[in-house]
Symmetry: D3
Subunit: 273 residues, 6 copies
């Protein structure tokens, strides 16, 4: 994620200014969330706002989780990064008797999840891909936003899409929909493992979303993923710099022996700065 | 379901023998299941082996369950009726940490469900439509069969399809698959409400399967569905008889006043027999 | 379609009896339809019961109709040929005001089409591929059958699939469904051009159905299609015979000069018989 | 739709400026259409430019039209609202004889519909989802624009996408396509009920489009939908305000007794202003 | 595959005759192919006609080929096993200049592949899933049959489906189609690696097809797969026998220590016979 | 593509300023590519940057290539035109033995193609629509960019989507993906004809991409397509002008005799300027 500066550096030398679009997206945790995080989360989330998604993916995969990237949902606003902790809700096709039983015992789970959300939470709705009816909408999401909500991930549809677009909140879904949850669907489970775009999401997972998808990171390895991912980014920045100077891809990616030494020197110089 | 005889009767009068294919499927509960049912279940299941699926559907819908028919799965052997009680299992995409936790606490749920099955049970596997890996296979199903299992409903895939085809057991699934459950999927929940082909199935539901799909009946209304459905079948038999005698559809379907009287007389005659 | 005999002939010479499955399907118009056809239709339909579907397709295409084969629907009973004349009905998603207006003016169109059907008619239901609700069912189809109906083609779903399977009536559809037409759909148009599996069907078209699909033939060219198609079949029978005698595909398919002469002699011998 | 101001108000108090993206889309009827509307339409369309789509959806549904929202098409330019009156055209797969007959009797229907369009009309093309060929393009749409056209809704594809994007005209379609209508498709019906993304559209319906879809409103209830929808928006604005002040979702959404009284006072204060 | 006898044995003891459908499919290589195989192939193919597909799959996977099962195609005749060696052909959407160039250099590849086929070959057509046009048909396949062809695998469509069904030849495809290959497609590559239903097939691979799919076995490991698969079948037969005698699945599948000893004794007894 | 100026002209007369959105996209070849093209390519590519895609499509179709437009991929950045020459790579599902053989003989083909790219090349990846794994990413594309690469067309997925978005490089793909090419896919063929979104692309083809798709032009006809297409654009500009002055579509599109004369005069006046 540091490559913007590197690009400028390289391009300064070579004046290939056309190679670069300057409007590189900025990735910052919104203050209304960041200020309310625990110190530990703030450190973690800050790193995850910067890490390259592909670098992080590589670490998650090496740790034994090869099926960790959701790319079947569409971001409502593409130039945002989402970082947050999964709070899950599961929906099923509506069924009168079960609905009566569940809703007698607890509020609808989009209400409950918004009300109980902690700063930095991402609500994860597993609606089985159903888009003929929405699982939640703008008013409930306003409550979630006030609670410090950091994003929505919906394997299904949301209402009030204009209102969601006006909030500073990343939203991933299959489609928008004006129709309410009833009479097509109902919420049935809260904080259980769910299926989103072919990937299992467990409550407490750390989610990192970008334009092209959402990386699902088991909480136990989140710090490792952030640190190793950032290390890997540094190496890729170096490789990119060599390529922008006109070197061949062979020997640079992956690094051959000679270039690895150059990289180690580059790292030392950077650490001195 | 009684229309076979009626057809013959009507056709005897009119000699339109070509209208009828005599190989009408027989719908009988297999003895290895039927003998082990409770007396109450035996009465209920016998009725549900005979009732017209559309008549039963009408009752379930009128009772407030309009989304009760699964037609997205394919029967392995089309000329069988399945009647049984749902025992549900839910699968998710594989995930190392969750799998380790769940499988430490309990056997894989296809094993557990086969072992705990009661006579007349139908195993209902919600695999989210995944067909790149099978949820269960022939050996485990043999155990289920010996326990008195009455059918399999799989929103996903099964292995050992030849072996399943050789069993006297209705099987509904998306596709067959030789690949085992690992490393694509894992079982996560047992006896919870699940989603099958767009319909919610609750543990204990009564399932009635035919060539073209599976009717999901909440247990509370199963007797009413069977009885009212059979009544409705009787009326349709009468209507069909009138049509085979050459009467117009108007006045017969639905019955007009005059034909309703004829139907009531027909019912009386039948009850005298 | 004459190749069965040719196969036997050829195989008698070479004793490769394993090449042939003797249960070749018989293609005959059912008597209850055939006896009630006009003499002209009887001649046409008899030819179309025998013609090779691919030979007929070639003629239809050469006549300027390249998009004439529907292969997206599934036959309920695969070993039947359907020949008949299209009577079309168009469905739309249900809409209260339009339904009230249309149904006040005319009966539902599955009733009306069954009642008005002529011997040899095929009902063609354009339901836009909707399979969550059926356009018609067994009772109405019984009336259609008594009227001399020759087949059903449904870009959607039918109810009462068991009953339909017991009738001597070819049925093509996407899926079966127990749910009635209401409240999902309504019939809106009768005897208008419709879209079935990506092909336009015009009222009065001649339809020829087989296991793998339905050929749509504009009525004006139906006799030409039947005659030229049967001629083409004869040539393919000859080619097949040469191949079964072990000749190379080159020179036989298509016929080279020498083999074309042999074919002309073969034709003469056949005409003498 | 008034919530932008409310957000600012609430946020002024609480200084949570990050919750809000100020670039809220403006929803105004373009002058070239608005000035040419009848006075009655101008009143109606102005209201429908402002009403919340979900509020309006709720009224349409309560009035007996639950299947009234099209969310399967993609808007070419997402930040526009479309309000207009449906003028429908139906397409079928090309067929030589039918095309010759229809095109001898009338111009192609994209021409005819553009030429006959009234100010505020939306052309609604039912192409059955076909995207291998476009139903119309930029030149014809230029004529439509000059006539006061208010939008395009295409269950299929359009050509000249760049040119359409440069017009001040909302366009909904499945995909763009460079290929012309021939030889894949042909127009067959004008001003008949059509199927668009699973919803029936009747000529004369009032359409309200947003980023996430199009609400289809029967003309008879359009004024009621606008008025009741705006009322509902006012209540949701109040609820949103309470939530932005930090109140719990319970009691606010839906309003409990106490909050309903507060809302009535809020309404009185607003009416005094 | 030996379980039929075991079933009978077990059921003789327990008289649960209803558990078994006696019409178990027979799996034999047709004589017209078998007699013309090399002795080595005959041994291999005979084993592969008997091995359990799931047992074979397990060996292929352990050898490092986890993506080896094609389950997206439909068998034309479900109760056949196919064993043979892949001969591949690749198709692309038609393109005038490329077609002219390729067809000037070589015959169409369905001709060429039929003509050059060796006994036991399976033609594998990669048509990219295209079903609007067929890659080959009955006449060409007759030549292939005479050459000793053992099956067809088509990621696309075939013509002359009735004729194919009458041949003793397993056929897997997406759909049937009457339309010829032109003008939609053309053959471009012969004996190159292809993609079939998501699986790579390399020329010379050994294919084993069943009702539910096709196992793709690299030639180098085919003997190992056959032998280890048959061993595994033997163990599963034993496990199945224990289950049919009423033992619990736990301890039997997988075998615990005690049951493993019983299995070793069972193996010894079998080898003595 | 010249219509922007025409619009302004017409609108100056009629003051319908609202008809036009002034932010018309500019279509210019980036200098880092343009400067390195051969003079001949520079002339051709400059024309193709300006030609209307639909006008060009018409010429390609008339020349005998009706299936030449790819509209199934999504542009990463919609307001860019891509012009370049196809360099193709074909991927298949991973397979251990084939991968070992291929990768021993040559580098992975995304490397090789980036390294060998000539200025103005477009890399065309046929991944069969696979989106669970990416064929290439940002570092390799950086090398391609430095080599003068002009675009990416991927029937599959790319990694490093943020980085690609920051490059001045049009990218078309199905979806983004963080997962690397292994272990799902492998590159197998270089510079062979491939299938992209249902269209055949041959190495050396000239590709012209816009928001709504990519036109594939055989190299032999590229100059003719550019020239005739620009001529056709001129006529459409004139037609558009007439329509903006309020004339009827009839007589203008297509031009009747009188308007054709006006067009010829218009052309003369333009040539004098």
């Amino acid at each position: 994620m540091r490559y913007a500066a590197l690009f400028l550096l390289a391009l300064g030398v070579r004046a290939q200014t056309q190679l670069l679009d300057l409007s590189l997206p900025q990735r910052q945790m919104p203050a209304y969330v960041r200020e309310r995080l625990t110190p530990e989360d703030r450190v973690l989330f800050d790193k995850l706002m910067r890490v390259g998604l592909e670098s992080a993916w590589a670490v998650v995969t090496v740790e034994g989780y090869p099926n960790c990237f959701i790319n079947e949902l569409t971001p409502l606003k593409p130039d945002q990064r989402m970082v947050g902790r999964a709070r899950t809700i599961r929906y099923l096709p509506n069924r009168k008797d079960l609905r009566a039983r569940l809703y007698a015992a607890s509020p609808q789970l989009n209400y409950k999840s918004a009300e109980e959300a902690q700063p930095g939470d991402v609500l994860v709705f597993d609606a089985g891909g159903e888009t003929r009816s929405a699982v939640s909408g703008g008013v409930t999401t306003t409550r979630f936003l006030v609670r410090g909500g950091a994003g929505l991930v919906v394997d299904g549809a949301m209402r009030d899409v204009l209102e969601l677009a006006a909030m500073h909140l990343p939203v991933y879904m299959r489609r928008g929909q004006a129709a309410a949850v009833s009479p097509i669907q109902m919420s049935v489970d809260y904080q259980v493992p769910v299926r989103i775009g072919g990937v299992t999401v467990v409550p407490g997972d750390i989610l990192v979303g970008e334009t092209h998808g959402i990386l699902v990171i088991p909480a136990e390895i989140a710090h490792k993923v952030a640190d190793k991912g950032l290390d890997h980014d540094e190496q890729e920045d170096f490789q990119r710099q060599l390529l922008l100077q006109g070197e061949s891809i062979y020997g640079v990616y992956p690094l051959n022996e000679a270039n690895r030494k150059r990289f180690e020197e580059y790292q030392k110089r950077r650490q001195l700065r």
